[in-house]
Structures are given as C-alpha cells and as structure tokens.
C-alpha cells in the first residue's frame, strides 16, 4: 500500500471488496529475479504524462507559428499568462537574480503535481497517493538544494552543519528530514483524500452516490490538491533560495 508494491493478501482480507483505494497490481513481470508489478500508479502516471506532453507539443506549435507583430490569440495568450505567472512566482520568492533560472523546474513541478492530484477527479487513482512518486519528487528537490548549496556557499555548506558543535546531530537529522517530511506531506494529504473517497464510494448505497461525492471531490481533489501543489512548490523555492546567501 505504501510502497509501489501490491497489497498482500493478508491485508486485502481486512477490507470489503467494494472499497478500493489501494495500489492494485495489473501485470506481473520478473526482472533480475525480483517479482515486480505494473500498478495502477504507472497507468495514471502514463496518462498524466501523455496529457502534459500533448499540451506541450501543441503549445510549441502555436508559439513557433506565432507572428510577433500581431495580437496573440486566445490560446497563445493563455500560454503566455502561464509562463509569466511562473516567472513572477519564482522571481518573487527566490529573488530577481536567481529566480528565472528555476522557473522551468518550478513550472514543471507545479503542472505535474497539479494534474496528478486532480486526476482523482477523472476516475484515476492519483499517482501522488503512492509514496514512490512523492519520494522521487522530494529527492530531486533534495539534490537541487545541495547542488546549489555547494555552488553558492562552497565548503561552508558542510561546515555550517557543525556551527554550534553541540547541535551537530540535530543539524544532520534536519537535513535528512527535509525530503522525508516534504514527500510525506504531499503523500499524506492526497492519500487521505483517496481513502475518504474510497470509503464513501464503498459504504454508501448506490442511489445517494449521485449527489454526495461531488462536493467531496471538490474539496479533496481540487482544493486540497491545489493547496498541496502550491505548498510543495513554495517549500522547494524556500529551501533552494536559503542556499543563495553568502556564508
């Protein structure tokens, strides 16, 4: 349930057949002697990826064909607005000097997590309700934090860990806890929505199901998903821009 693995039979026997919110294995295959599964997470991830790539290709076509001397059309305007929003967001949070460099990464992260979170609305199982996905996202951020730390603070990035010598263990644990808490925050929020909706769909009689889940979807998938996307991007920006100060 928590990893990309499959629910073991022991655990499934606890749950009613009607209630489904776990990661289900679809296709089993073996690689280097390990038993692996293609799960619902992979399927949802593939669909989200296809949607993003299709949008990117179409946007690329439009931008290449655009005539800079004419007023942009509706779609082109929307793309420009999107890009400008991410540029302004990164500039406001990471400073004028370094902000624009990270606009690509933050924009990609934002669009991907947002689509992954609201994919529950379209009947998929949100990929971000799988710890494998959120941990990978948080590890990318972790690598970026320390790459920029070494780039801007040089050796002080290491010596800062031992600054008050008594607090060394706490500093080291704090550095390691950053990606874990970031990934658990996103995972926990999306998973709690998935579990609640799974319980609602499994327990309520069919007749009521036409009305009840709609506001719940609105809260758990759209509102909570958007807030968590924003928080993940904000934390990424804050942690990275902390390393810009000269030590």
């Amino acid at each position: 349930m928590l990893s990309s693995g499959v629910l073991d039979p022991q655990a499934t026997s606890v749950v009613n057949d009607e209630i489904t919110f776990g990661v289900d294995g679809l296709i089993r295959y073996e690689l280097f002697g390990h038993e692996l599964w293609i799960t619902t997470t992979h399927i949802s991830l593939l669909i989200v990826m296809v949607v993003i790539i299709a949008f990117a290709v179409v946007a690329n076509r439009f931008i290449k064909k655009a005539d800079p001397y004419k007023v942009p059309g509706k779609f082109l305007n929307a793309i420009e607005y999107l890009v400008e929003t991410f540029d302004n967001l990164t500039k406001a949070n990471m400073g004028e000097k370094h902000g624009l460099k990270f606009s690509n990464y933050i924009g990609t992260l934002f669009i991907f997590i947002l689509l992954a979170n609201i994919s529950g609305l379209f009947g998929l199982r949100s990929p971000t309700a799988d710890y494998g996905v959120t941990l990978a996202l948080a590890l990318v951020t972790f690598v970026l934090i320390h790459y920029n730390g070494f780039k801007y603070q040089k050796s002080a990035h290491i010596t800062n860990l031992f600054k008050p010598i008594l607090l060394t263990p706490i500093n080291i644990i704090g550095e390691i806890a950053t990606p874990i808490s970031m990934s658990l925050r996103l995972f926990g929020n999306v998973l709690s929505g998935t579990v609640m909706l799974g319980l609602v769909y499994g327990l309520l009689p069919k007749a009521i199901l036409l009305l009840v889940p709609a506001p719940l979807h609105g809260y758990f998938d759209v509102f909570s998903g958007a807030i968590q996307t924003y928080v993940f991007c904000m934390l990424t920006m804050v942690f990275i821009s902390n390393t810009f100060e000269e030590a």
Binding site: M1, L2, L7, D8, Q10, A11, V14, V15, G22, S181, L184, R185, F187, G188, N189, L191, S192, V195, I227, Q228, Y230, V231, M234, L235, V238
Partner: protein, 86 residues
C-alpha cells in the same frame, strides 16, 4: 479464546485510533495560524496576498506531524507489519 491474529488485528485497530489523536495538534496550530492571519489582514488589508501565502505555508508545515500520525494509522490498518511476526 481469542486467536493470535484476531488479538493482533484488534490491538492494531486500537493503535490506529490512538495514532490519530495526533490530529489534535495540527488542528490547534492551523487554527492559531488562521486566526493571526485574519488579524493581520484586518490590520493591513493591502498585504492580503502575502499574508495568505505565508499562512498557507505555515499551516502546511504545521500539518506534518498530523500526517505522520495518519501514516502510522494507515500502516497499522492496511499494511500491518505485526501480523507477519506471528
């Protein structure tokens, strides 16, 4: 006579319920943050956007401990590690 599996499962359910007591802390913390955010907007309505983003960030960080409790409860209920020890 209770079987070993039933005993472990029952105790796990109680443990999951106890773990969710962790939800109290984030509730209080988020409420305090929202209250101070409202006070700040009342004092300086022009800075509404900045106050909102700071408040949401603080609330999200305060929520983390509650989510640790939630993760423990979910593990105890659906991916129980204790059953395998029998």
């Amino acid at each position: 006579m209770i079987s070993n599996e039933a005993f472990v499962l029952g105790c796990s359910a109680i443990g999951a319920g106890l773990a969710m007591i962790a939800g109290i802390g984030p509730g209080i913390g988020q409420g305090i943050a929202a209250g101070h955010g409202a006070a700040a907007v009342g004092r300086n309505p022009g800075a509404r956007g900045n106050i909102m983003s700071t408040m949401l960030l603080g609330q999200a960080v305060a929520e983390t401990t509650g989510l640790y409790g939630f993760a423990v409860a979910i593990i105890l209920l659906f991916a129980n590690p204790l059953i395998g020890k029998l």
